[in-house]
């Protein structure tokens, strides 16, 4: 097997032990490639554990800019004996294994069709450091040093990055530099020519930024004017709330008083978190919670209240593998139906599907406008893949002339001017009523908010027609929402095709790559990226314009397909589901093989 030779197009996978300090070293490795102008996509594959279980970090280097997970491994940095066999097995034939050769490993534990790069890391560490923690931490930096030499990464870039990272801990810079050189020099002197994978400086990153979705979501909440956040810790959403706290400290501390222009509470559970969000929304503050599937399950009763009592709320759902505790540290898009129809009785909710951290930032900011305009909960359905991995995406932008849409609020002046106030009265024929905020007017506009049936003037009623009148208005309000939520993004091929594909969320990078490959193979496919539920007319128009539609999802039950069939009244036979739900992000390879098989088969059937 000849060794793989590749420039700026390969996958490096680091196999580490959780808690060994490898994460920051590995991330520095990925960032160094970006500084050489080479796009990378990095993914953490981590356990539900604090210390000791296996963890992986995968870096896809792609000069062409493909940012989805590719699948396969060209270079395995095997630092975890627990997962040795599986890690060795996962290397592509002709690929490379880099490992710590301090302890002998029997020949039978290797493969003959891969290339072995040996480095006695532990020996080097033991000879250099006496403190056990240092031996562990610097081992990570030493292997990064070796990799820079093996792959041709500019070594001074890493030095600069270490300097930046330890800006406030100057004492740590020199020893980190020393470790970097130890690795680099060892590779130079002993491993020359051992690796056919190379990085060359190009200019393909441009001004893009490297950011994780949860931080982007939190920043969107800051920009969108969220002042109240209530949350309960749950993987993979915890870092949304933590990032919000950090960003608020930076951007929302009042310059004069030093006090906080925000309030964050860590609630006792998700029920309390959504309760506080609803209470704050009722009282006119922009508020949100961040959670994952199990949290949404707990919030069901409150979500129905917010729908029925028409209270703004924003829920960021960082989806993980379900059902039940499922795969808490793996990714899925499996809460679509749970959120779309959350709570008992007839309910429908607005969902947003961001494709990457940039869109997540934008949707998070937008969601508060939508929540107040439409007076209802807004769900942002991101996932672990976007949320907890650093993505290379376009820089965030903001228009300073933008103002918040606070929706229909009747003020004291309106009330004094004699405007009729009916909390559930459809004045403007868009089914969105006006609300008043508590404390607004001494004698006018007060009402009792309730989850029970009531008339247009918020008066309790068990009359069937009064109840139906309200339920019908809520349906009409959902229609109104169609013109407010982000429209789908449609990409039509130059040649007319009867095939279409529908996808959404974190599937985007893999889909982009798959599309290019399918085009190159002469398979033409129009694309529609869904960005929101309810589906506007463009969605059903796209479906009707194609005979066969692939629906690509990251769940078992084809939930988006069900929602499309149900809400657009489409014949299910029109759809072909492509489902990836093993907990790892969908790959272009998987999409290409699934679509190619079906398209060639269908073409053959047509020819016969």
């Amino acid at each position: 097997m000849s060794p793989i030779k590749s420039v700026n197009d390969f996958v490096v996978k680091f196999a580490n032990v959780n808690g060994s300090g490898s994460a920051s070293a590995n991330e520095m490795f990925a960032r160094s490639l970006l500084r050489m102008g080479v796009p990378v996509a990095s993914r953490n594959i981590f356990p539900s554990n604090i210390q000791g279980l296996p963890t992986w970090y995968e870096v896809r280097v792609s000069g062409q800019g493909w940012l989805g997970r590719r699948g396969g491994v060209d270079l395995m940095v095997a630092m975890n004996p627990q997962t040795w066999d599986k890690d060795i097995a996962s290397i592509d034939p002709g690929g490379y294994l880099f490992y710590d050769s301090s302890r002998p490993i029997p020949l039978s534990k290797f493969r003959s069709d891969i290339n072995i790069i040996r480095m006695p890391l532990t020996e080097i560490c033991n000879a250099t450091y006496s403190d056990p923690r240092q031996r562990q931490l610097f081992k990570n930096i030493i292997y990064i040093g070796a990799l820079t030499q093996l792959l041709g990464i500019e070594a001074d870039l890493l030095e600069t990055m270490i300097g930046e990272q330890y800006r406030n801990k100057q004492a740590l810079i020199a020893p980190n530099h020393q470790a970097l050189h130890l690795g680099h020099d060892y590779a130079r002197d002993n491993l020359a020519g051992a690796c056919g994978l190379k990085v060359e400086r190009i200019d393909a990153v441009k001004d893009r930024i490297f950011v994780n979705g949860n931080e982007a979501a939190a920043l969107g909440c800051v920009y969108g004017g969220a002042t109240v956040a209530a949350w309960y810790p749950i993987t993979p959403s915890t870092s949304v709330a933590e990032a919000f706290a950090k960003l608020c400290k930076k951007y929302r501390t009042d310059a004069e008083s030093g006090k906080n222009k925000y309030a964050i509470i860590q609630a006792e559970d998700e029920i309390s978190a959504i309760g506080a969000v609803i209470g704050a929304g009722w009282n006119g503050a922009r508020s949100f919670t961040a959670t994952s599937g199990p949290g949404i399950s707990l919030m069901q009763e409150f979500l129905g209240l917010a729908y029925f009592a028409e209270i703004p709320a924003v829920i960021i759902n960082v989806q993980r593998g379900g059902p039940s505790t499922g795969m808490p540290t793996r990714t899925q898009q499996a809460d679509i139906l749970l959120c779309a129809y959350a709570s008992h009785g007839d309910t429908k909710h607005i969902l947003l599907f961001p494709e990457d951290p940039k869109e997540l930032f934008e949707f998070a900011a937008l969601s508060f406008d939508l929540a107040e305009r439409l007076q209802t909960p807004i769900f942002i359905l991101e996932d672990l893949d976007i949320g907890m991995n650093e993505w290379l995406c376009e820089p965030f932008t903001w228009d300073d002339s933008r103002t918040y849409d606070r929706g229909k609020i009747m003020t004291a002046a309106d009330l004094d001017a004699g405007k009729t106030f009916g909390r559930y009265l459809d004045v403007d024929c868009d089914a969105i009523p006006y609300r008043t905020l508590p404390g607004e007017h001494p004698t006018k506009g007060a009402y009792l908010t309730r989850g029970t049936s009531r008339d247009r003037f918020a008066k309790y009623s068990e009359e069937g027609d009064v109840y139906q009148d309200n339920m019908q208005r809520l349906l009409r309000k959902f229609e109104t929402a169609k013109s407010h939520v982000p429209a789908p993004v449609i990409r039509q091929q130059k040649e007319k095709t009867r095939f279409g594909a529908i996808y959404f969320g974190s599937t985007t990078p893999a889909m982009n790559e798959a599309l290019a490959a399918l085009e190159a193979a002469g398979l033409h496919l129009d694309l529609m990226r869904l960005r929101a539920f309810p589906f506007c007319d463009a969605v059903s128009d796209f479906i009707h314009a194609h005979d066969q539609i692939f629906v690509i999802e990251q769940n078992r039950d084809a939930q988006m397909r069900m929602l499309l069939v149900n809400e657009c009244g489409i014949d299910p036979a029109r759809f072909i589901s492509i489902l990836n739900y093993d907990g790892t992000p969908i790959t272009a390879r998987f999409i290409i093989s699934s679509i190619t098989g079906r398209m060639t088969m269908t073409s053959r059937e047509a020819a016969e």
Binding site: L34, D207, R208, I209, F210, L219, V222, Y223, G225, T227, V228, A230, Y251, K259, N260, K261, Y262, A263, I264, I265, A267, E268, D269, I271, S272, G275, A276, V277, I278, G279, A280, G281, W282, N283, G284, A285, S287, E301, F302, L305, P395, F396, T397, W398, D399, T403, Y404, L437, P438, G439, P442, T443, A446, Y447, L448, T449, R450, G451, T452, Y460
Partner: protein, 351 residues
Amino acid sequence: MTYIVKPKLRHPAIPVNKLGFTHRDYEGTVSTLCAGCGHDSISAAIIQACFELAIEPHRVAKLSGIGCSSKTPAYFLGQSHGFNSVHGRMPSVLTGANLANKDLLYLGVSGDGDSASIGLGQFVHCVRRGVNMVYITENNGVYGLTKGQFSATADKGSKSKGGASNMDTALDLVSMALMVGASFVGRSFSGDKEQMVPLIMAAMRHPGPAFIDIISPCVAFNNHAGSTKAYDFVRAHNDAVNRLDIMEPRDPITVEYAPGTTEEVALHDGSSLRLAKLDANYDANDRIMAMAYLQAKAAKGELVTGLIYLDKHATDMHANLDTVDSPLNLMSEKELCPGAKALDGFNASHR
């Protein structure tokens, strides 16, 4: 009796408070609870307290959960916004509302099923978080709307109307409130308006989590012999530790008490609270003692009422969170959005 609309006419000589409001201005719609229900007396006491304190009705937000007690916010303060939320979850809704606007007076009204059973967790956490509020439980030991099941505050051995005995240990919300950091804790009885009104007034003036448990017999399902929440039983076992009066700064009310047994407590708004001790040994500022006293009396089958605990140095959740002085819900993009330039900085730090 929702078909009955209260007449708008009023007697020209009807008393008005310093805001010019009459008692009627603090009322709500006509109650639909059973005739003689203790809860209606509590509503009347809330109305009286707000009238006496000359509170602007629209500056009160009244929140409740589900149950007979949680229906009562419709029957008082008709000019206030109200929120009848979901069962046992009023505390979290109130917490969020308070976060949004610290300037309103938050009145949470709940019951023993709502707060001690389904909502015990929320009750405890809301109190321990230090939310500035008046939290009243209208405690009858029984589920009224579902017709007479025991609640978690039903005393062990007490009998239901159908004759069944409750074998589960009772939860005492007063003890729990003390345990988890309520800075004002009182207990009263719906049949004792003289005690209830000043207690509610004092709680409304208190700048922290104020909790009042009010025993409120259920005339339909829990007012029979064998019940420990019946009018007769409570009257016979009531042990009031003190009597309160609120002293307005401009309009002092003089009440005669035996010398040496009264204590004046300055309230944050300039008024003061006069506490007349009925039990000379009881110190309402000592939390540990209050907890011990409650347990000792409970063991003898006596129900301690009055102002049980007051922390004169109470603060609240907003102080803990160090929020700005103006309400968060009033802020616009000018105050909240960092703008494009800050975003450039964010982008630069992610390259």
